[in-house]
C-alpha cells in the first residue's frame, strides 16, 4: 500500500508561539488514521498546516511523493487533497446542488470524473430532499453531510476531517462514519482529528495522540 501522505519533522508557528513540534506521520492509501487530542492540542493546526491554509510551518509534507511546501492552499486542493474544516462550513448563499457543483468542478480540475448526484443521494438521502435549499439553512448535521458529500464528489486522494462528529447526534454520526469507511475502502487516505477516541471506533484503523503540539504514537486511556 502506498504512502499517500507523509509528514517529517513538521513544526508550525503562530507568530512567536510554536504550535507543533516535529510531527512525523504517515497515512497510507485505504487507511483511516485518527488523531486524538483535546482543544488546544494542535489538531486543527496540524490539518491546516497540511492543507497549506496555515503557511507558517517548516518540515516536509508530501502528497503522493510531491512536496506541498511551497504551494498555496488552492493548488494543494487541486492536487487531490480535500479538507473539511471544523464546523463543516459550506457556502451558505448557494444551494446544496450548487455546492456540489463546485465540488464537481474540483474533481475535473483533478483530472477525475466527479461522483454523480445519485451516488450522493444514496449515501445521504436527506440531502436529496433539500437539493435546492440554500445551504445556510441546513441543520448542523446536514451541513456536515453536505461538507462530506462535497469532499466525496470531488474525488480526493487524501481527505482531512476536523472533528466531523462535533455537535452531532449519534444517528447522524453513524451515516457519516459509514461514508468515511466507504471512502477508505475505495483507496483514499483519510486523516480524522477528533477529541474522543470512541468516535473513531470502526472508522479509524489506528490512532495517534496529539498532546500540546507533540504526536505520540502510543496512547492509553486515562485511569
Amino acid at each position: 500500500m502506498t504512502d499517500l501522505l507523509t509528514l517529517k519533522g513538521v513544526d508550525s508557528w503562530y507568530g512567536r508561539s510554536r504550535a507543533l513540534w516535529g510531527i512525523n506521520l504517515t497515512v497510507r492509501a485505504g487507511e483511516g488514521m485518527g488523531v486524538v487530542g483535546r482543544n488546544g492540542a494542535g489538531k486543527s493546526t496540524l490539518l491546516r498546516s497540511i492543507a497549506r491554509v496555515h503557511s507558517d510551518c517548516r518540515g516536509a509534507i508530501e502528497l503522493n511523493g510531491t512536496s506541498l511546501a511551497r504551494l498555496s492552499a488552492d493548488a494543494v486542493a487541486r492536487m487531490g487533497l480535500s479538507f473539511v474544516r471544523e464546523g463543516a462550513p459550506v457556502v451558505g448563499e448557494l444551494s446544496v446542488v450548487i455546492n456540489l457543483d463546485l465540488a464537481r468542478r474540483l474533481a475535473r480540475l483533478r483530472g477525475q470524473e466527479p461522483v454523480p448526484y445519485e451516488e450522493v443521494w444514496k449515501i445521504f438521502p436527506v440531502l436529496a430532499t433539500k437539493q435546492n435549499l440554500r445551504a445556510g439553512l441546513l441543520s448542523g448535521g446536514q451541513r456536515q453531510m453536505l461538507a462530506l458529500a462535497s469532499a466525496i464528489v470531488s474525488r480526493p486522494t487524501v481527505l482531512l476531517l476536523d472533528e466531523p462528529s462535533a455537535g452531532l447526534a449519534p444517528e447522524a454520526c453513524a451515516s457519516i462514519f459509514q461514508a468515511i469507511r466507504q471512502l477508505c475502502d475505495q483507496g483514499l487516505a483519510v486523516l480524522i482529528a477528533e477529541q474522543n477516541r470512541d468516535w473513531l471506533d470502526g472508522v479509524a484503523d489506528r490512532s495517534v495522540l496529539l498532546e500540546t503540539g507533540r504526536l505520540h504514537h502510543r496512547a492509553v486511556p486515562l485511569s
Partner: protein, 649 residues
C-alpha cells in the same frame, strides 16, 4: 521560577537598553531645546515665514487631538480638519458679525468643535475601523457643502474675510504678540492631549483600541470611553482652529479640506500610533513640505498623495513600528549569535536548548495537585474576600439559547458558592462557551436568569454585568499586545481606581501618584501569580501562550471580582504552564472567590476543581460535587474513558 522562552543570556540585554532616567532626561532636554527654538524664531525669520510657522504650529497642535482618537483609541475619525474648521468659523463669525470679544468667542468655538465631533462620533458608537473612517471622511466633503448652505453667515466659498487680528496692538510689531499667543495655544493643545493620555486614560484608550472585550469584562463602559475620546480629541482641534481664524484673518472651507485632513492623519499614522511625539514630528514635517513645495499647486498635492500612499505601503503599521521591528530583528540576530543556544535558538521565537529539555521532562508528569498545593504555601496569599451571606455567588437558572434555530443551551442550571471551583465539561458543541458568554453579559439568553452576588445580571450589558462582580478570560486572550503584562493587569484596576474624566482632562500630569499606585498593585498581583520581574515588564506579544493566560488571570484578579469565569485556560499549555495556572486558581479559591472553569483537560480539571457539571448537546447531564473525595459517578467515568493520554515510555 520560570525559564522564559526567549530570555536572553544575562548581559546581552543591557547593551541595548539605555537606563531609564537618562532617556527621560534626554527627552526633557529635547523638549526644552525645541521650545526655545520656537520662541526665538521671530528673531531670525521674515514675517511671512513667521506666518507660515504659526500655521504649522496650529496644525501640529490640532494633530495631537487626532492622536487621541486615532492613535490611542483607534477611533478612525478622519474629520479632525473639519472640527478645526467649525471652531474657526465659530470664532470668526462671533467676533465679526456678532461683535463678541475675542476671549468670549473661545469657549463658544470650543463648544462648537466638540458638538461637531460628537455628531460624527455618533456613527462611531456602533461601528469601527474602516467603516468609521469612511463615514468621518465623508464629513470632510460635506463640510464645504454646509458652509455653502449657510452662505449668508459664512460667506460661502469665498470665505469669511476681515476677521480681526489676534491682538490689535499699538506698536509696529503687532505680529510678535500674535506669534507668542499662537505658540501658547499650540503648546496648550499638545499639553492637554498629552496629559490626558499620561493619566490612566491613556491605558483605557489603548484597551479600547486593542482589547475592547477585555476592557468591557473588566467593568469599563466602552461607550463612555468612546464619548470621552470624542470630546478630548476635539479640544486641541477647537483651540487651534479658533486661533487660526485670527491668525489667518479669514476663514474659508478650502483651508479645512482634503489636504489638511490628509496631513493630520498622515502625521499620526506615519510615525506610528500611541506616542505623543510621533504625530508632532509627522505633522510638522508634512506641513513644512506642504508649505515649501509650491503650495496650492497640483504638484504639491500630487507629492503629498504619493508620499502618503508609498509610506503606508512600505510601513503599513507606521514608521515607528516598521523601524522598530527592523531594529528588533537585528537585535535578535545579534543576540542569537552570542548565546550558546545553537540550533534551537536560531529558530525564530524558539526556546533555548536548555528549556526544551526541561519541558520534555515536564511533559510526562501530567498535573500534580499535591505539588501545586505545596508551592502555594511558600507564596504570599491573596487577600481573602468576605461576604455577608452564604448565598452562592453565581446562580444560573434555566438558561436557554438558540442560534439559527439550533438549540445551543437548554435549561442549564447550576450554582457556584464562595470558595468553590466548578468545571463545565463536555464535548465540543455542548454549549459551554455559550454559557460563559451569557454569564458575562456578552450574549443575551433567550430565557433563564443569571444572578451574581444576589443581583440579577441577565439583560445587562457586559460592563454592567462585570460591575456586579464577575469577570472572565477568553479562549484567545484578549490583551493589548504592544503593552506589558503589568499594563494589561492594570486594565483590571481601571474601573475601581482609574482617574475620572475631569481629572484626566484638567490635571492629567498630576495623577502620577495614581499611576504609581496602579503600577504597584499590578506588580503585586503579578508576583502573587509567580511571574518574574522581567516577565512582568515584557510585552504580551513577545510572550508564550501560558504567560498570556496568566496575564489575563492577573487582570481578572485586579478587577476584584468575586466570580471569575475562565474559558478553556488550559488549552495549549504545557505541563509546567499548567502547574502555574493551577496554582493561580487554587490561590484564588483560597481567597474565597468563586471560580467557573470551562475545560477539556481532564487531568487538569480533576486536579484543580472540586465540582463538575457535565454537559451534552446543551443540556446539563449532571452536577457532581466534591469529585475528588467521592467515588467517580458513572457518567463521568464514561466520559473520561474516552480521554486518552500518552503511554509512559
Amino acid at each position: 521560577m520560570t525559564a522564559v522562552e526567549s530570555a536572553p543570556a544575562p548581559g546581552t540585554r543591557r547593551a541595548f537598553r539605555t537606563p531609564r532616567h537618562l532617556t527621560g532626561g534626554i527627552r526633557a532636554g529635547l523638549w526644552v531645546v525645541l521650545l526655545v527654538l520656537i520662541v526665538i524664531m521671530p528673531l531670525f525669520v521674515s514675517s511671512y515665514r513667521l506666518f507660515q510657522i504659526e500655521l504649522i504650529l496650529l496644525y501640529v497642535g490640532a494633530s495631537s487631538g487626532l492622536n487621541i482618537s486615532v492613535g490611542y483609541a483607534g477611533e478612525m475619525l478622519l474629520s479632525q480638519a473639519t472640527v478645526m474648521g467649525a471652531a474657526a468659523y465659530a470664532g470668526g463669525l462671533l467676533t465679526l458679525n456678532e461683535h463678541w470679544s475675542l476671549l468670549a468667542s473661545l469657549p463658544a468655538a470650543l463648544a462648537v468643535a466638540i458638538i461637531w465631533q460628537m455628531i460624527i462620533g455618533l456613527a462611531g458608537l456602533r461601528i469601527r475601523g474602516l467603516y468609521l473612517g469612511l463615514v468621518s471622511f465623508f464629513s470632510v466633503l460635506v463640510f464645504a457643502n454646509i458652509v455653502d448652505l449657510l452662505q449668508g453667515w459664512t460667506g460661502g466659498d469665498d470665505g469669511l474675510i476681515g476677521v480681526q487680528q489676534l491682538f490689535s496692538s499699538q506698536s509696529t510689531n503687532g505680529n510678535t504678540y500674535s506669534y507668542e499667543t499662537v505658540v501658547i495655544i499650540a503648546v496648550v493643545s499638545v499639553v492637554v492631549a498629552s496629559q490626558f493620555v499620561a493619566s490612566s486614560w491613556g491605558l483605557r484608550l489603548r484597551a479600547l483600541r486593542d482589547s475592547p472585550y477585555g476592557l468591557a469584562v473588566s467593568g469599563v463602559s466602552l461607550t463612555r470611553t468612546k464619548l470621552a475620546t470624542y470630546v478630548v480629541s476635539a479640544i486641541p482641534a477647537g483651540l487651534c482652529g479658533w486661533c487660526l481664524a485670527f491668525v489667518n484673518q479669514s476663514v474659508s472651507p478650502s483651508i479645512f479640506g482634503l489636504s489638511l485632513t490628509l496631513v493630520l492623519f498622515a502625521g499620526v499614522e506615519l510615525v506610528g500610533p500611541g506616542t505623543i511625539v510621533g504625530p508632532l514630528i509627522g505633522t510638522g514635517l508634512l506641513e513644512i513640505y506642504s508649505n515649501l513645495v509650491s503650495p496650492f499647486s497640483s504638484y504639491n498635492v500630487l507629492g503629498l498623495g504619493l508620499l502618503l500612499a508609498v509610506v503606508i505601503l512600505v510601513f503599513p503599521n507606521g514608521i515607528r513600528r516598521g523601524g522598530g521591528r527592523t531594529i528588533e530583528a537585528l537585535r535578535d540576530r545579534y543576540r542569537h549569535r552570542r548565546s550558546p543556544g545553537g540550533d534551537a535558538a536560531s529558530a525564530p521565537g524558539g526556546p533555548p536548548a536548555s528549556a526544551t529539555a526541561a519541558e520534555t521532562e515536564a511533559e510526562q508528569t501530567g498535573f500534580d495537585r499535591a505539588l501545586v498545593l505545596e508551592s502555594l504555601k511558600s507564596v504570599e496569599a491573596l487577600h481573602p474576600l468576605s461576604f455577608p451571606t452564604a448565598e452562592p455567588l453565581l446562580k444560573v437558572r434555566d438558561l436557554r439559547r438558540s442560534f439559527d434555530g439550533n438549540l445551543a443551551v437548554a435549561d442549564a442550571s447550576f450554582e457556584v458558592k464562595a470558595g468553590g471551583i466548578m468545571a463545565l465539561i463536555g464535548d465540543n458543541g455542548s454549549g459551554k462557551t455559550t454559557i460563559i458568554n451569557m454569564i458575562s453579559g456578552l450574549l443575551r439568553p433567550d430565557a433563564g436568569s443569571v444572578v451574581i452576588c444576589g443581583q440579577l445580571a441577565t439583560g445587562r450589558s457586559a460592563h454592567q454585568v462585570s460591575a456586579l462582580g464577575v469577570t472572565r478570560t477568553f479562549q484567545i486572550p484578549q490583551l493589548i499586545g504592544e503593552l506589558t503584562v503589568r499594563e494589561n493587569v492594570e486594565v483590571g484596576l481601571l474601573r475601581a481606581h482609574g482617574v475620572g474624566f475631569a481629572r484626566g482632562v484638567l490635571a492629567g500630569f498630576a495623577t502620577w501618584k495614581n499611576q504609581r499606585m496602579l503600577r504597584a498593585e499590578a506588580d503585586e498581583i503579578c508576583r502573587l501569580l509567580g511571574l518574574s520581574e522581567s516577565e512582568i515588564g515584557t510585552r504580551i506579544e513577545q510572550l508564550p501562550l501560558g504567560l498570556r493566560r496568566l496575564a489575563e488571570v492577573g487582570r481578572a484578579i485586579a478587577t476584584g471580582s468575586p466570580v471569575i469565569c475562565l474559558d478553556e485556560p488550559a488549552a495549549g499549555l504545557n505541563s509546567k504552564e499548567l502547574h502555574e495556572l493551577g496554582r493561580a486558581l487554587l490561590a484564588l479559591q483560597q481567597s474565597n472567590r468563586a471560580i467557573l472553569l470551562v475545560e477539556h483537560n481532564v487531568r487538569f480539571v480533576m486536579g484543580v476543581c472540586d465540582d463538575i457539571v457535565l454537559l451534552r448537546h446543551g443540556e446539563v447531564v449532571g452536577i457532581y460535587p466534591d469529585v475528588r473525595s467521592n467515588p467517580l459517578p458513572e457518567e463521568l467515568r464514561t466520559f473520561f474513558s474516552n480521554v486518552w493520554v500518552e503511554a509512559a515510555e
